[in-house]
Amino acid sequence: MTDTNLGIAVHELHKQFKDGPKAVDGISLAVAPGEIYGFLGPNGAGKSTTVHILTTLLRPDGGYATVQGYDVVKQGAQVRASIGAALQEAALDPMLTGREHMRLQTALQGLPRSTRRPRGNELLERVGLIDAADRRVGSYSGGMKRRLDLALALVHEPRVLFLDEPTTGLDPQSRSDLWREVSRLAREDGVTVFLTTQYLEEADVLADHVGIISRGRIVAEGTPEALKAEIGRPTLEVVPVDPADRQRFADVLARFGPAASSAKPSAVAVLLEDGADALASVIRGIDADSLRMDSFQVHKPTLDDVFLAKTGESFAQGDQGASASSEDESLQPAEAPA
């Protein structure tokens, strides 16, 4: 195994908690240096357990994993020296200021005294917190806390960065800011990033490779484009004017492909077997039955479709709310011709 050439290598990793189900059930994956790997799955899928094992905070029951070529079980200290991590909760002290956090983290990471302050300021500047550096963290917004958490993870210039659901609960602007910084770290600094997320859009936009995890197992892995290409067909979502017509819509749409999941409870969705070429026929079919639409929407395959195809469950029906895909092609307002 050429572990030394890999940012992260995982082989048949297992972890079961006492009296619980298998949290991690034979996971294998590889992350190349400088790559952003999106580990995507709903709550309880095993993402955080995997991160805890890879960051040496948890001992696996079986399997093997290396980070920067170091065994996570036998070479914990070397692994920790190579990695930075921002775990699920921004582990900050509300009583300390941003600058005091930096002082503490740079000292605990063993940076020479002369470099601690400049390094702290550099990172605070980079994550846009230099003006708020002397404010107590208790007064920071969720986005500011996440950015400080990220900056703290970077003080010792790690080659591998673990981010456990870094944007959960953030507003779109804060999320976008964090994505930009993570992306920059990988592209410009060559940092390997292992990012867990329950946001489909996040994995889609940010990750070079995506591993989809469900019930402790990886059910699909590849680039976002390749995974979506496996599905191939677009989905059409129609919202009837009269909710009582849902079944009639479903009957019409069933002629064009199998039913698909939709994040909107009021919508009827179908996976178009003939692709977008079938749209005109669909409209004609709806019109022929004198049905009225409030809106309809065609979207290219998303990672949600991949998740559905691989697990038989809709990601959106799990813990995660609907995430708008940048690939959506909204055609509203749209109504079948009278």
């Binding site: 920790r80 002290d93 990471q109």
Partner: protein, 258 residues
């Protein structure tokens, strides 16, 4: 400066800064013992007329109590702070650095030490201003501060142990009444030989808190009583050893990393 001393120093600084920025966590540990001192020395003053009572000033008799009470408050503070660190993931963040687990413990205790010294000094000044004569003089006052600090460290280590094991501030605070029972079932308000109820006197005799109080008390009202000091310091040092060991194990349990 070695890596470990840097770690302990920075964590002690954090502990102190955090405490100073939460006046609500310091004020009760100063105010409550002083209020208790005022109420008891006023209300129980006539106890000094009991034959064989060791002093004619109940204030001088009772001034030992605030030192132990403040240590009890420090226990709660240290325990809840550590529990918060577990809950927020701060302990996991530290575990990912080269920090040694015990640096967190000793950093926390160093912060307690500073607060404990400040409290002790306050109680000594209040005692002097209120007219208490310290029979052992200035050296005795220094010894009282040392003993009070040892008691603070011992009890705070118990707090750290509880906080680390439970990871819950509420669980730590739930122990507070138990500690107070220990305090009240001691020679807090009356010399042991003068406690009339046999069961109470027996419990007070077996309760180590009695000897901590009596050691401080001896320095105030007797002067230099070797036996009382040996018992007090012996128990305090034993408590420090046991509780620091227990806290250290609790930190190791929580400080899981490969």
């Amino acid at each position: 400066m070695s890596a470990t001393s840097t770690q302990v120093g920075e964590l002690a600084r954090r502990s102190l800064v955090r405490t100073l920025r939460q006046p609500a966590s310091i004020i009760p540990s100063l105010l409550f013992p002083l209020v208790f001192l005022a109420l008891n020395s006023g209300g129980l003053g006539s106890a000094t007329r009991i034959p064989d009572f060791p002093t004619d000033s109940y204030l001088a008799f009772f001034i030992a109590a605030p030192f132990v009470q403040a240590a009890l408050f420090a226990t709660m503070g240290a325990g809840t702070d550590v529990a918060k660190d577990v809950q927020t993931g701060f302990v996991s963040r530290l575990a990912l650095t080269p920090t040694r687990g015990n640096a967190l413990l000793f950093g926390q205790l160093a912060g307690v030490l500073a607060v404990s010294l400040f409290s002790s000094l306050t109680f000594l000044v209040v005692g002097l201003v209120a007219g208490v004569t310290f029979e052992s003089g200035l050296p005795g006052m220094v010894v009282i501060m040392v003993l009070a600090t040892l008691i603070g460290i011992a009890l705070s280590s118990i707090g750290v142990m509880l906080g680390m094991r439970s990871g819950s501030g509420e669980a730590v605070q739930g122990m507070f009444p138990l500690f107070f029972v220990f305090l009240f079932l001691s020679s807090l308000t009356m010399p042991r030989p003068l406690i009339e109820q046999d069961w109470f006197r027996t419990i007070a005799t077996y309760n180590p808190v009695s000897y901590l109080l009596e050691a401080i008390r001896s320095l105030v009202i007797t002067g230099w009583d070797g036996r009382a000091l040996a018992l007090g310091f012996g128990i305090a040092i034993a408590l420090v050893a046991v509780s620091v060991f227990g806290a250290s194990r609790a930190v190791r349990m929580r400080w899981t990393r490969t």
